[in-house]
């Protein structure tokens, strides 16, 4: 499962990191890790309503998904994409507001947490039904082309479980029929909730789906930041330059429960020994220090800055009021005169 077609043969030079955006990416990973640990503790403390779903172990892939997107691009993040959302420009305060139920979050308490969007940087508010985001991203790209926009690309993510939905199939196929600049990054974290790969699909390699739709396919070790930047960044570039749709399949392990309510006791011990089961944040931090791309003091300072920002966001959000039912605008249509209330 692990051979990688376009791999960055991570050259760990003593002088500089293996990718020009390596340290920037590492900082997003670090921020995400610290932030999600904060979310988890808030959740354990009963301060969060609804679920908490973290991307622990997937920070390298997710960061790479968000990092190369530009103004005018389309991003469809999924439930493990805190890192990518941040790297693509969503402020920490908005996430925090959503989790803490502030009325000032982008979903205003109407929808929660991982479903949030951030239109300011082209981030779509996902619905739960896996695969449904794919055609929406494709449609946005079709529209941009019709409007005469140039140089844009669309990227969305999916899990190995979500790849088995009909929506994913129809969406992947229509993307290549419409020849839009599209990138799908699939993270095979080896579990769909509690379900292992063998009950999810039976092809030798998920990347074989690429050829089935006329995509270019790439495999990558999702725990190796340099490779993720190279492969995902490369895919984004190829799509942007007019290449066919791109499928990147990353191998890694979900290092948390499906959600924070789940102890993941179903994950067998052996799998944790797999090379792609390592913690990408720790691994990256180690490389960064060993190679002196960052000194311990700076790293310490980064952590301090990140924690401060998070504390500030939490304080702010906690001070803000939640929505109030009696004051809510109960109106599912934007065209008010067509609202039809009977029997409520």
């Amino acid at each position: 499962m692990l051979q990688t077609e376009t791999r960055a043969g991570a050259k760990t030079s003593k002088k500089e990191p293996p990718h020009e955006r390596y340290l920037e990416a590492f900082r997003w990973m670090l921020q995400t890790r610290i932030f999600e640990e904060k979310l988890t503790s808030l959740y354990r403390g009963g301060l969060i309503t609804g679920g908490v779903y973290v991307g622990r172990g997937q920070e390298a892939v997710s960061t790479a998904c968000g990092l190369f997107l530009q103004k005018g691009d389309v991003f469809g993040p999924l439930i493990r994409d805190q890192a990518g959302r941040a790297a693509a420009g969503e402020p920490l305060l908005n996430v925090t507001r959503t989790y803490l139920g502030s009325r000032q979050g982008s979903m205003r308490g109407r929808d929660g947490n991982i479903h949030r969007g951030w239109p300011e940087t082209g981030q779509i508010a996902m619905i739960s039904h896996l695969g449904s985001l794919i055609p929406v991203v494709v449609g946005k790209l079709m529209a941009k082309r019709m409007k005469g926009e140039k140089g844009f690309v669309g990227l969305t993510t999916i899990g190995e479980g979500g790849m088995q939905t009909g929506a994913t199939h129809e969406g992947m196929n229509i993307a290549s029929v419409e020849k839009v600049p599209f990138v799908l990054v699939a993270s095979n974290n080896h579990f769909a909730y509690s379900t292992p790969n063998e009950r999810q699909f039976a092809c030798a390699r998920l990347v074989d789906r690429a050829q089935a739709y006329g995509y270019e396919g790439h495999e990558v070790d999702g725990t190796n930041l340099a490779d993720c930047l190279e492969v995902i960044g490369g895919a984004v570039e190829r799509a942007r330059k007019g290449g066919p749709p791109q499928l990147v399949v990353a191998s890694l392990l979900r290092l948390a429960g499906h959600g924070e309510h789940d102890d993941a006791s179903y994950v067998p011990a052996e799998i944790k020994k797999e090379p792609w089961a390592q913690d990408c944040v720790l691994a990256t931090e180690q490389l960064v220090l060993e190679n002196g791309w960052l000194d311990a003091a700076t790293l310490k300072q980064w952590r301090a800055e990140i924690s401060a920002e998070i504390e500030k966001a939490v304080e702010t959000a906690q001070r803000e009021a939640g929505p109030v039912g009696s004051e809510e605008d109960w109106c599912a249509l934007s065209t008010r005169e067509l609202v039809d209330v009977a029997g409520e």
């Binding site: 508010a125 619905i127 055609p135 039809d340």
Partner: protein
């Protein structure tokens, strides 16, 4: 010169493509010389290059892409080859398009055309009327034009509306229904129409059943019975006021629909009249729907499955006898 219901739908789309760059058509077999399973887009692909696009057999993705395009400011019109196949797109319609505005405050102006309703020999999967299912969920406007004029103006309205619109066009009316010309004016969206004034009984209905009801009204009129026929036009929103006003005049209500009975349009209308206009009723309201079985293929069965002038007249007499 005369215009059929089907031509009105084609003309409305031609008008929209001409007047509004944001509009494009997306569906199976709608492009090329072919112009759609029912020819509702015939000639449009040639006239509007790149704006009438054939799709793979992927209803979920068809609507999904339309939602994305609408977020970018476009006004896609998606044609389902038959309403019955929209079951495949139902998740995108109900859970994505229908929740978009409420969740994000970003409107989702897509129009989904559903060639609906029964015709001879079409069977269980090419005959369905799905307006009840789409009306049950929040966030959608559901139209069921019953006349050539409405077919034209309501499709133009549908695209103008900033919210998702399910436009149910009745296949039985495609060729049967003719008007002298395209309409010059229109009723507001969401307003029902009194198709025929009456005194003794209000028949509230929609889509093809409007014409069955009219036939009954004409027939009984000869026998001194004056039936008022109300065409709902849109079933969501549902124009309760016009319906109540009609019942206030007649004191009697019969709701006729082509959908299946349980929770159909007729159930909703009766629920509204009995809750909001109970004291207007001089007799028990009644409803008539298609039978609670799949829609049969054989004409003998099909004609018995749906309400028709004969069964409606019988029911009307029964109510008037009370």
């Amino acid at each position: 010169m005369s215009v059929t219901y089907l031509e009105a739908i084609r003309e409305a789309q031609a008008h929209l493509l001409r007047e509004d760059d944001r509009v494009y058509l997306y569906g199976q077999d709608i492009a090329g010389k072919f112009g759609g399973a029912f020819k509702a887009t015939k000639g449009l692909a040639e006239k509007f290059p790149g704006r009438v696009l054939n799709t793979p057999i992927s209803e979920d993705a068809m609507v999904g892409t339309a939602i994305g395009a609408a977020m970018e400011g476009m006004r896609p019109i998606v044609e389902m080859q038959f309403a019955d196949f929209s079951s495949i797109a139902l998740n995108q319609i109900l859970n994505n398009a229908g929740t978009q505005y409420w969740r994000t405050q970003q409107p989702c102006p897509i129009t989904v055309r559903l060639p609906s309703g029964g015709t001879k020999g079409s069977g269980p999967f090419h005959s369905q009327s799905m307006e009840a299912i789409y009306s049950h969920y929040p966030g959608l406007v559901v139209m069921t034009p019953a006349t050539v004029e409405d077919a034209y103006t309501m499709l133009i309205d549908a695209v103008a509306i900033d919210d998702p619109v399910i436009y149910c066009e009745h296949k039985y009316l495609y060729y049967h229904l003719k008007a002298d010309a395209l309409p010059k004016e229109k009723l507001p969206v969401g307003k029902a129409r009194i198709v025929r004034p009456g005194r003794d009984l209000s028949i509230v209905t929609n889509s093809a059943m409007v014409h069955e009801a009219l036939a009954v009204a004409q027939q009984l009129s000869g026998q001194g019975i004056e039936i008022e026929v109300v065409d709902l036009r849109t079933v969501k929103p549902l124009d309760t006021d016009t319906v109540l006003a009609s019942v206030a005049r007649t004191g009697r209500l019969l709701c006729v629909g082509e959908t299946f009975p349980w929770g159909g349009v007729t159930a909703e209308v009766i629920a509204r009249v009995s809750t909001e206009g109970f004291h207007l009723l001089d007799a028990a309201p009644a409803r008539l729907n298609s039978k609670d079985t799949p829609i049969p293929y054989h004409p003998n069965l099909w004609e018995t499955h749906r309400p028709n002038a004969k069964t409606i007249a019988a029911k009307a007499r029964q109510i008037l006898a009370e």
